[in-house]
């Protein structure tokens, strides 16, 4: 039995749902913007976190600079002898002053200020370094040595990243739910507009599936058409904003980089919305028809 027959009037003829592709375009536009924003932030957090991961800072304090210098040399030797430590580099005084300037102010860092010695340590990705054991080891050289693996900062960053991503996902879900509601409303409006046609089809022996297929195919086209328009508009907006940021920053601020590979997932949005409109329309029609004898 052939189940496919488009008996519905041409959509150009006073169709209640002819605005639906535009509504879908807006929904996909908002979804793609939310998705792009999440991806850019996710990518930024990744860069940030990966720059801190695998790095440990050793801080040595004390009053006697000569003792501190001697202890620093021994600590560096101990660190270099530890398996899994890739590089050990003491920060120069200028670098340390630069780090302190935001807190103390430029020109306020005098020579009599007890500036600590800081050693930047890079650990290997492949060999696990037990940081507690490493700290115990270097503490045998000096009691005034601290090892900072940035865990607290990383935890905060990851929590922020998780919150931002969850918010983005929440917005996407809300948009999808709103889209489903609009599709249900649109389907019911269309069914109401074509009530007579559906009744005749029904009385002449059309199965529910035949009627539902006519609707689902039409609504799938609406979803796809709107989805493509929305996606193109969202890409134009994102690139427009990037160019604006580039022009405004004048090279002083890093322009956010687009994670192209991940962003290619956005190309699926029109397909996802087409599938969403198709399935929602089908379920709505089947449920409405089930009320008929």
């Amino acid at each position: 039995m052939r189940n496919q027959y488009d008996f519905l009037p041409n959509e150009n003829k006073r169709e209640a749902t002819k605005l639906l592709p535009w509504v879908m375009a807006i929904m996909v536009y908002l979804s793609a913007l939310a998705g792009t924003g999440s991806l850019i932030l996710h990518s930024g957090f990744d860069d940030w976190a990966s720059s801190l991961q695998g790095r440990v800072t050793v801080q040595l304090t004390g009053e006697n600079r000569e003792d501190m210098s001697d202890q620093s040399s021994r600590i560096q030797e101990a660190l270099r002898a530890t398996p899994g430590v890739d590089s050990v580099r003491p920060l120069t005084e200028d670098e340390i002053r630069l780090l302190l300037e935001p807190w103390l102010g430029a020109g306020n860092i005098t020579d009599d200020l007890p500036i600590p010695i800081m050693i930047d340590v890079e650990t290997s990705d492949n060999i696990y370094v037990n940081l507690d054991a490493l700290e115990s080891k270097i503490r045998q050289i000096s009691d005034n040595v601290y090892l900072d693996d940035h865990a607290r900062w990383l935890d905060d960053f990851l929590r922020l990243a998780y919150t931002v991503e969850s918010t983005g996902l929440g917005i996407l879900i809300l948009i999808l739910l709103a889209s489903v509601c609009i599709i249900i409303f649109g389907t019911k409006s269309s069914m109401s507009e074509h009530k007579g046609t559906i009744e005749i089809m029904h009385l002449m022996g059309a199965h529910d599936l035949m009627i539902a297929k006519a609707y689902q195919n039409r609504f799938m086209k609406y979803g796809l058409r709107g989805g493509i328009i929305g996606l193109i508009l969202s890409f134009i907006t994102v690139y427009g904003l990037l160019i604006l940021v580039q022009n405004l920053s004048g090279g002083f601020v890093d322009t956010p980089t687009l994670p192209y590979l991940k962003m290619s997932l956005l190309l699926l949005f029109p397909l996802i919305f087409a599938a969403l409109t198709m399935i929602t329309a089908r379920i709505t029609v089947m449920r409405e028809l089930a009320r008929m004898v």
């Binding site: 052939r2 008996f7 009037p9 007579g196 009744e199 009385l203 002449m204 022996g205």
Partner: protein, 225 residues
């Protein structure tokens, strides 16, 4: 077609059809008569499976269709042709497309459908109106398209609600002969009509309804023409 103690209501506590029982032999032809509001259209609705009775049994095609599963109904409906009082043509389809609708619903496709449909439209005198939309047709022309649509699949049962109400006496007679021809081919036919002259002329059996009750069933329904 057999009705056994059938009642039907649209609202609670008010039966528009009351305890109707009759038996129409297969291949018979009956007129359904009665004053306005007697329940003729409601009885036809039960016959074309648009409504279920509140009580009783309706035996059609060898089963009680009143209790048929919903998914079985489309197949049963395809064996019934209906001419609605208000035509119920689809405005966005041409006359040919409207008449072809039952064939398309049944899964038919291709040029032979149109050929068959066009032949029938020529027969009902609409040769020049095949590509016309219902909005451009007169009442009588719409009626003929509706009749052609009802009979295109040679249904087992043909139900017509005032099928000659909008056509001139000559066309009314011609359409009645179409029903008679179909009836001779074995189609059980029920025609609701106010036209006593036509009922007398074609002399078929009569189901007479008054106030939702079947007052009498006249004749056997075997066609005498």
């Amino acid at each position: 077609m057999e009705f056994r103690n059938v009642s039907m209501s649209y609202e609670r506590d008010y039966d528009v059809l009351k305890d109707i029982s009759f038996n129409l032999p297969s291949g018979s032809m009956h007129f359904l008569t009665g004053p306005s509001g007697a329940g003729k259209t409601s009885l036809l609705k039960l016959m074309y499976l648009a409504h279920r009775p509140t009580r009783g049994e309706i035996m059609m095609f060898g089963r009680d269709v009143a209790k048929a599963e919903r998914e079985d109904l489309p197949k049963l409906r395809r064996r019934i042709g209906v001419v609605f009082q208000d035509f119920r043509l689809l405005d966005h389809m041409t006359a040919v497309e409207n008449v072809a609708l039952p064939l398309r619903i049944a899964g038919g496709s291709g040029a032979h459908i149109n050929e068959h449909v066009e032949e029938l439209l020529v027969w009902v005198g609409l040769k020049d109106k095949m590509k016309s939309y219902p909005s451009t047709l007169s009442g009588g022309e719409k009626q003929r398209v509706a009749i052609a649509r009802a009979v295109i699949r040679r249904p087992d049962i043909l139900l017509a609600d005032e099928p000659t109400g909008n056509v001139d006496p000559e066309m009314a007679e011609r359409l009645m002969y179409l029903f008679v021809e179909l009836n001779k081919l074995g189609t059980t036919t029920v025609i609701a009509s106010h036209d006593n002259g036509l009922v007398e002329k074609f002399g078929s059996a009569r189901l007479h309804l008054v106030g939702g009750k079947l007052l009498h069933l006249e004749g056997t329904g075997k066609n005498r023409n």
